[in-house]
Symmetry: C2
Subunit: 469 residues, 2 copies
């Protein structure tokens, strides 16, 4: 509530000040606000977005710019005069600049690259050369390095000389003077704590953890999680330091991974754009592909049902439970598949654990199916009782108990099959080199639906042959 | 590949050295390895886990301990002699200690709390007083604070005096000497860059961003993401600094959020434990609840089907398409619900956007349903053609075109209803204060199944009344 009030205060202040059209006052006001508040203002007042960015100190404008949505970024760049765009692009950290540029159409990219200083252009173009989702794209070349023979005092003067342009001085990198190879890294805390005339070589522990530029960003996120570092060096195959990756980028990586996986589990291609910003037909395109694939596969259910049409004709009562049986298989299947997808993403399950998983899921399937089977059987008993006393229309007839057994036993089979295929599918996909999250809930449900029907009618045939069928 | 080789080398080395039973050699070996490698060793050789922890330098042991799984942590604490446990618990950062203790049964907790130093005990007990998932639980009291009138030189000597025990010196906090209130924070970089006799008050920008101890951890994660900080101060209602939260904890928060949401979307309660470690019956318990709820709701489909039993008896062909219609509604519903859950979790959609979302989903539903409807209609035409020429058994008869219209139009209705309810349900749940992720794919599918059947049979009745029905 108090946050809301504060925010409303912010908006009112902004409206009052923007109305004055006094550039100096606007600039002062904007420079006094938190970065995230300015971003809020831009989202709230899209008409003024370019004006807001243009009227801020350039280093603050770049901090705001890099946390905006891609679509807002694009609009702002279009509206800004090109000298402002140049200033802004040059001020952006190299990794954020690359991130923004890679989303643009080729023609626009070419124009913008021209606006960047020659030195920065070289950096940007080299970052653009690494595969998407690789650590290389997150690197920043702004770090402080020293040599092992430097003293602590010399390190401080190096920092004072270079740190202005550097993203982080929390970690200092030590380079071999002859070969240029990365020797070690050291936290600024350890430098501060040491005597000024101490040599850096005496402070090193030789336990450097480095990433490769072609490593997957998700891998980097795991390394950060397990090693308690705020920045990690990135090297090439010859152990030459190419740049560093900072931990704050990992929060964005984690969010992107989260979004992609959830969208895939729901049976959509990853949108890569915010829901409300993606154009309508791109949204449809991302969604319709999987829906058609699933629809075509589900047509097999119609084929299966047609195959059992005679049985249904003889005992319409069987068709009544088709949706119930199908959905139970689908539900238990989605449950199992999401559990396994999540556990694999967290590194809790590896491919070699397949047998342990399968054993667990066989027993789980039997238990879960058993419980649902008993409930299903009881439901039919209760309905029979109600029918028998004329409360509702009698559909089951004399054979109510056999129908109960059919439904109960089918549920065990279908749920077992659901948990089994739901749990094994993500592992098989991973084994084949695909993303396990693709084995989405709808995908598993479809797989289980067809086989579920076959299980159900086979059990029915077993119990009711010569009686109803 | 090379990583694998390295790892095998590590395991072999370890096996050779542990076999010597030479404590000094084991200790030297372990102290030379990376923290994450030692964690790997513990996971690979559970028999030696307590021995590994006991034989390391205590500050390294605590770094390893805090990244282990809860179950490994519990086993190690059980096996360690109690003086070692005391050492280890005292060495753990307060936030990680709290994190571990809160997972233990009350009796064990009481015993362990006794082992902690009185000062540390006070901190731990106060952290345990904050709600789970609150920022308070992540706080560490180990930070460096100074007063505004201190000079840069005085700050450095404060750091040298206190930084040993502090988690981070990357950010220094400025406290009001009289009231104890938080005034501002400053990055160590700005301190290093300043002249030694400069006063801190001259370096401050007054743009402090603080969290509240009762804030949600997810909220903290958003604040970190948007403000590019490595640590944030946590204050109480009187603006007194209680502790700080560091960005590395946010990676764990993001992972936990990811796991919980995906498990909920799949229709399981959040497991809170790794899949392979949770006991079998706890796993069943977490899964069976939702399955039963869904199963009972799905029984409504049997009721609906029974209601249409006469129609099915007259035209068995109608029952053939029941699974296809139902699953199409379910699939489009899960798609819509996961899209919206993800967009809300990322802050891309807010409750007040409901009308924009609804409008998008109405049009999406009509398009997607239209496309599937046309495919369904064509399928029936093709089958009719095949039947007509005796390739397969004729099920549709004279009325094949009306059946085609029925299926096609039902698909439009069912898919529209699926996307609509799938997209609105998460928003309604959020409005009611529940977690939107609960509107799992299975939950939406169940809701859509029953209504889907009613839509289908109503359309059929419209087209086929007096003809087949």
């Amino acid at each position: 509530m108090s946050l809301q009030l504060e925010q409303e205060g912010l908006y009112e202040q902004f409206e009052r000040i923007i109305a004055t059209e006094d550039k100096l006052q606007i600039r002062d006001f904007l420079n006094d606000q938190k970065i995230s508040d300015v971003a809020d203002l831009i989202n709230e007042y899209p008409d003024f977005e370019a004006q807001i960015v243009a009227n801020m100190a350039i280093h603050r404008a770049s901090s705001v710019f890099k946390i905006l949505d891609l679509s807002a970024q694009k609009r702002i760049i279009r509206e800004l005069p090109s000298f402002k765009t140049a200033e802004l692009l040059n001020e952006l950290p190299a990794d954020d600049r690359t991130d923004f540029l890679e989303e643009l159409p080729k023609e626009v990219l070419r124009d913008l690259i021209k606006l960047i200083d020659p030195d920065e252009r070289k950096v940007t173009l080299s970052l653009l050369g690494y595969p998407e989702d690789s650590v290389g794209r997150l690197m920043t070349p702004d770090y402080v390095y020293v040599y092992a023979h430097n003293t602590v005092e010399e390190v401080f003067s190096t920092i004072r000389k270079f740190a202005k342009s550097s993203e982080t001085v929390d970690v200092i990198y030590i380079i071999d003077e002859a070969t240029g190879e990365l020797v070690d890294d050291i936290r600024i805390r350890d430098v501060i704590l040491a005597a000024p005339d101490k040599r850096i070589s005496d402070l090193l522990d030789g336990r450097v953890i480095a990433l490769h530029a072609t490593d997957d960003q998700e891998h980097a996120s795991q390394v950060f999680k397990m090693n308690n570092r705020v920045a990690l060096p990135v090297t090439d195959n010859n152990n030459i330091l190419l740049g560093i990756v900072t931990i704050d980028d990992m929060l964005w990586v984690a969010n992107e991974e989260y979004s992609e996986d959830i969208q895939k589990i729901g049976g959509t291609e990853a949108l890569d754009e915010p829901y409300l910003e993606i154009s309508f037909f791109r949204l449809i395109k991302k969604r319709v592909g999987w829906l058609i694939v699933l629809f075509l596969s589900e047509m097999l259910t119609a084929t299966a049902m047609a195959y059992f049409a005679d049985e249904i004709q003889k005992a319409v009562v069987l068709s009544i439970f088709v949706p119930l049986i199908m959905s139970s298989g689908g539900n238990s299947g989605s449950q199992a598949s999401t559990l396994i997808i999540q556990a694999m993403a967290m590194g809790e399950i590896h491919l070699q654990d397949w047998w342990r998983v399968m054993r667990r899921e066989i027993f789980s399937g039997l238990w879960l199916g058993g419980i649902l089977g008993v409930i299903g059987f009881l439901r039919i008993c209760i309905w029979h009782f109600l029918m028998h006393h004329g409360v509702i229309q009698d559909l089951y007839g004399e054979q109510w108990m056999l129908i109960g057994f059919t439904v109960g036993l089918s549920l065990v089979g279908v749920v077992l099959w659901g948990t089994l295929s739901g749990s094994m599918l993500p592992m098989i996909l991973k084994k084949l080199g695909a993303d396990p999250a693709v084995s989405s809930a709808p995908f598993v449900a479809t797989l289980v639906d067809v086989t579920g029907l076959i299980i159900y009618f086979s059990v029915a045939y077993m119990f009711l042959r010569g009686i109803l069928l």
